[in-house]
């Protein structure tokens, strides 16, 4: 089969060649685009940044690396004028500047792609972009400019759609286009690839490299070490608000970067494939779900089964029906044919989330705030909300406060959730820490069947590993697990079997050991089986 994939191997060769091409040393003396000196910022109870120094040269792709809560977001917010530093100064093109507002930053030539998108749900894509532009922008020309950038950089977008109808990946494209339209000198990207497919990441890296060649400096925030290795020239590593090291990426390995970031040697993954899976836990046969509005994806004849003790990975490009699949599995969307979905042989298509929870199913949706957790409620209450039935936190209809507090404490401890205690409201946690809490909350309930979407989105390497190990351990104890993710490396690492979803249709499933990333990439593009992939490649 290997010759059939010649086309793809050419592509990946290209990727390798340009990445090596850009790992060059930047030796400009004193000619920094931006120079941060002694940046300090404290919040009640935390010193978020402690005398941070950082310099970026023109055309340099600079990585800002650190775990969740290391102070990356705080530093970036000061660069972009959202926060004012307590101490320290910023030099822009050699002149000391005081960045007082995001508008001021934009005028200097600093653009930013946020981790939490600054988008307006009820407005259209076009209106969202207009809002990010200066008042002097000619809006009539803007449409063609948007089209131009979106085709040139492989960021397809329909400008007339309303944002609330878009997937996370599509929303990010708006942010990126919005920044590129401003022709900035410094582009700040806060974990831009966390929701992109490998092909999209490849495209983005091409774009970023082209932009860097044109003289644009990029400050790239990520926990994905191999990405930093492939893309960035220089890296500044933060830990606990302090710079622990500033390195040439070329001379580092992903594990040396990880060690610096986490301050200890990263335990190597001991995820080994388990023995034979057990009986069928979840049987989905011919599941159809109609589109609820014109922008949602209808599910067509979804058929798969998950056995006790195995992890099924569902790959797919954002917006191909993952949300709809999760809702159909969790019970938020009911199916007309109740036997299309069977848990332990019992028809469940017509049962709601609570009934399915009682049958041993847990679900973790992609959206953390508002779907996975109630933003204004404490961790204890958020824990109680999904765990009260299985863990019996109610006696005679009254809440057993102590038991639910113990449960929240266990989750916080086991998954190392950083927060101001278990009474902290969910929205006060950083994205990664909240994700750890939500995943932990479900895993600690020891479900017999777990469906999880994007388990490690926006989570740092250490926490991702904790989550992966916890999922694997859960499977080894006999739980059937479905992982819907856009992170292929993750799926390859933890899944026993893999399938892909494209336009609401699920491909056949294959043992993870037997497929290559390229094959999955093609299944994500709509090929249903390996045979079909072969045909497609032959045709080309």
């Amino acid at each position: 089969m290997s010759p059939d994939f010649s086309l793809n191997s050419v592509n990946s060769d290209l990727l390798v060649s340009f990445t090596i091409d850009h790992r060059r040393l930047i030796t400009l003396q004193g000619e920094f685009l931006i120079q941060l000196d002694g940046m300090t910022k404290s919040f009640p109870g935390v010193l978020a940044n402690d005398r941070v120094n950082l310099t970026i040269a023109p055309g340099e792709i600079h990585a800002l690396l650190g775990e969740n809560g290391a102070g990356k977001s705080t530093l970036v917010k000061m660069i972009y004028g959202i926060l004012r530093p307590d101490q320290g100064q910023i030099k822009w093109k050699g002149n000391t500047v005081e960045i007082t507002s995001p508008a001021f930053a934009r005028n200097l030539g600093i653009a930013m792609v946020f981790q939490h998108f600054s988008l307006f749900d009820s407005l259209t894509v076009f209106e969202n972009i207009v809002l990010g532009m200066d008042a002097s922008t000619d809006t009539s020309k803007l449409r063609s400019e948007i089209e131009d950038i979106s085709t040139r950089y492989g960021l397809p977008l329909d400008a007339n759609r309303h944002v609330y109808t878009l997937s996370v990946g599509e929303r990010q494209r708006i942010e990126i286009i919005r920044c590129l339209l401003q022709h900035p000198s410094l582009l700040v990207m806060d974990e831009p690839t966390s929701v992109l497919t490998p092909q999209e990441v490849e495209k983005l890296f091409e774009t970023l490299n082209r932009l860097a060649d044109e003289g644009l400096s990029i400050l790239y925030i990520s926990h994905k070490l191999d990405e930093i290795k492939a893309l960035c020239h220089h890296a500044t590593i933060l830990r606990g608000g302090k710079v622990v090291d500033s390195v040439q990426v070329e001379t580092e390995t992903p594990s040396s970067l990880a060690a610096k970031m986490m301050g200890e040697s990263l335990a190597t993954s001991n995820l080994e494939q388990q023995g034979e899976p057990g009986e069928i836990r979840l049987q989905v046969s011919g599941l159809n779900v109609l589109a609820v509005d014109e922008f949602s994806i209808p599910l067509k004849n979804i058929t798969f089964e998950v056995r006790s003790g195995e992890i099924l990975g569902v790959a797919g490009v954002a917006g191909n029906g993952q949300d709809e699949l999760l809702k159909a599995l969790s019970g938020e969307t009911l199916t007309a044919d109740s036997s299309a979905l069977q848990i332990d042989g019992k028809p469940c298509g017509g049962k709601g989330p609570n009934a399915r929870r009682m049958l041993g199913m847990s679900t973790i949706p992609e959206e953390r705030l508002g779907h996975g957790a109630v933003p204004g409620m404490s961790l204890v209450d958020n824990g109680l909300l999904t765990a009260f039935q299985r863990l019996e936190f109610l006696t005679g209809g009254f809440i057993v406060r102590g038991a639910s507090e113990l449960f929240a404490q266990e989750v916080v401890r086991r998954f190392n959730v950083k927060s101001h205690g278990i009474e902290a409201v969910a929205s006060s946690l950083s994205g990664g820490n909240l994700q750890k809490f939500i995943v932990g909350r479900e895993i600690c309930q020891k479900p017999e069947l777990l469906v999880v979407s994007q388990p490690t989105w926006g989570v740092d390497a250490g926490a991702a590993q904790t989550i992966h190990e916890a999922l694997r351990q859960l499977a080894s104890e006999g739980t059937a697990v479905v992982v819907i993710s856009q992170d292929l490396d993750e799926l390859m690492k933890i899944s026993d079997r893999i399938s892909a979803i494209c336009a609401g249709e699920l491909s056949q499933t294959y043992p993870a050991a037997g497929v290559t990333i390229e094959q999955i990439g093609l299944m994500m593009a709509g090929a249903h089986s390996v045979d079909e992939i072969t045909e497609k490649v032959d045709a080309i």
Binding site: G81, S118, L123, L131, G132, T139, H162
Partner: protein, 306 residues
């Protein structure tokens, strides 16, 4: 026909104050602020307008005074809500109670005095069209102004950049702040506009609708205006339709009573409110419509520091 035209004319005069107050409140809400003080601002506008015309004799100054009174009262609301982050609901209710009391105090010596009403501006030629002429082209300035206001606001919201920014602030103040818009400043002006329009609505009541001053003369119109905004799903032309519909119902129930239709007058007076509830139930069935038009941040205080 002899009855029809006067009836339609009274519907127009009944709808106009609702239209001003509702359009003003709609702008305030589009920016993400819920101001429940419409009734109070209307009353203050009414008493100040009437007092001005009584002491100066100038209708122009009276209209201006109504506007300024409403806007002035809304500044108190803005300072409390935006500056001190007080609860919008509680502050709005307090504003209404305060407005009722203050207007009664100011108007103590004005009760029982009559005024001729705002002059009618008859448009030559067009007025001679049978039926339509008398119906449409012989009104006071505020009636013409209210239609112009709807058109301007509709254009402002949908076709101008400041209108877009206003909607954006109401949709997500955090995102607007992150991009660099001055959320509090924009909200301040939206509240001011809403107050001014409520003041105009009050001035219309005491200068044109029933040209005199009596305590609490707005009689709940401020609350109807609030309901109208939701009724119209925050869209200006629908506010116009709603205002005329509500104006129509409130006039028709008077006529029905006069004709001795055997329904208790209390039931007839309830009609506008029952209609509001019925329509609210109907529109909330369509979640997408609400999602598209309702300001998501309404009623939520904004802390610019975080």
């Amino acid at each position: 026909m002899d009855i029809l035209i006067p009836t339609l004319l009274t519907i127009i005069t009944a709808a106009t104050p609702l239209l001003y107050a509702a359009i003003g409140e709609m702008i305030t809400e589009k920016a993400g602020v819920l101001n429940l003080g419409v009734e109070g601002m209307m009353l203050l506008g009414a008493v100040c307008g009437f007092a001005t015309v009584h002491f100066t004799g100038s209708a122009t100054l009276a209209i201006l005074a109504g506007f300024l009174a409403g806007a002035g009262l809304s500044i108190i609301f803005a300072v409390l809500v935006l500056g001190f982050q007080s609860s919008q609901v509680a502050t709005g209710l307090a504003l209404t109670i305060f407005g009722i009391g203050l207007s009664a105090l100011l108007g103590q010596n004005l009760v029982g005095i009559a005024y001729d009403g705002l002059p009618k501006l008859t448009i030559p030629l067009l007025y001679d069209i049978p039926v339509l002429g008398p119906l449409l082209f012989s009104h006071d300035i505020l009636v013409y102004g209210s239609i112009l206001l709807v058109a301007t606001v509709a254009w402002f919201l949908n076709h101008t950049r400041p209108g877009l920014i206003l909607r954006a602030v109401g949709n997500s103040h955090d995102a607007a702040h992150a991009i660099g818009y001055h959320v509090l400043r924009i909200r301040f002006f939206a509240i001011l506009f809403g107050g001014g329009m409520a003041g105009l609505a009050g001035a219309y009541l005491s200068l044109a609708y029933s040209p005199l001053w009596i305590e609490n003369m707005s009689a709940g119109r401020g609350w109807i205006a609030l309901a109208l905004v939701v009724f119209a799903t925050w869209r200006p032309w629908r506010v116009l339709i709603g205002a005329y519909l509500f104006g129509g119902i409130s006039i028709l129930q008077l006529h029905a009573q006069a004709l001795g239709i055997g329904v208790p007058s209390q039931v007839m007076s309830m009609l506008p409110y029952i209609a509001t509830i019925a329509v609210l139930v109907m529109i909330s069935r369509d979640r997408n419509k609400i999602r598209l038009n309702a300001p998501a941040c309404i009623g939520k205080p904004f802390h610019p520091t975080s």
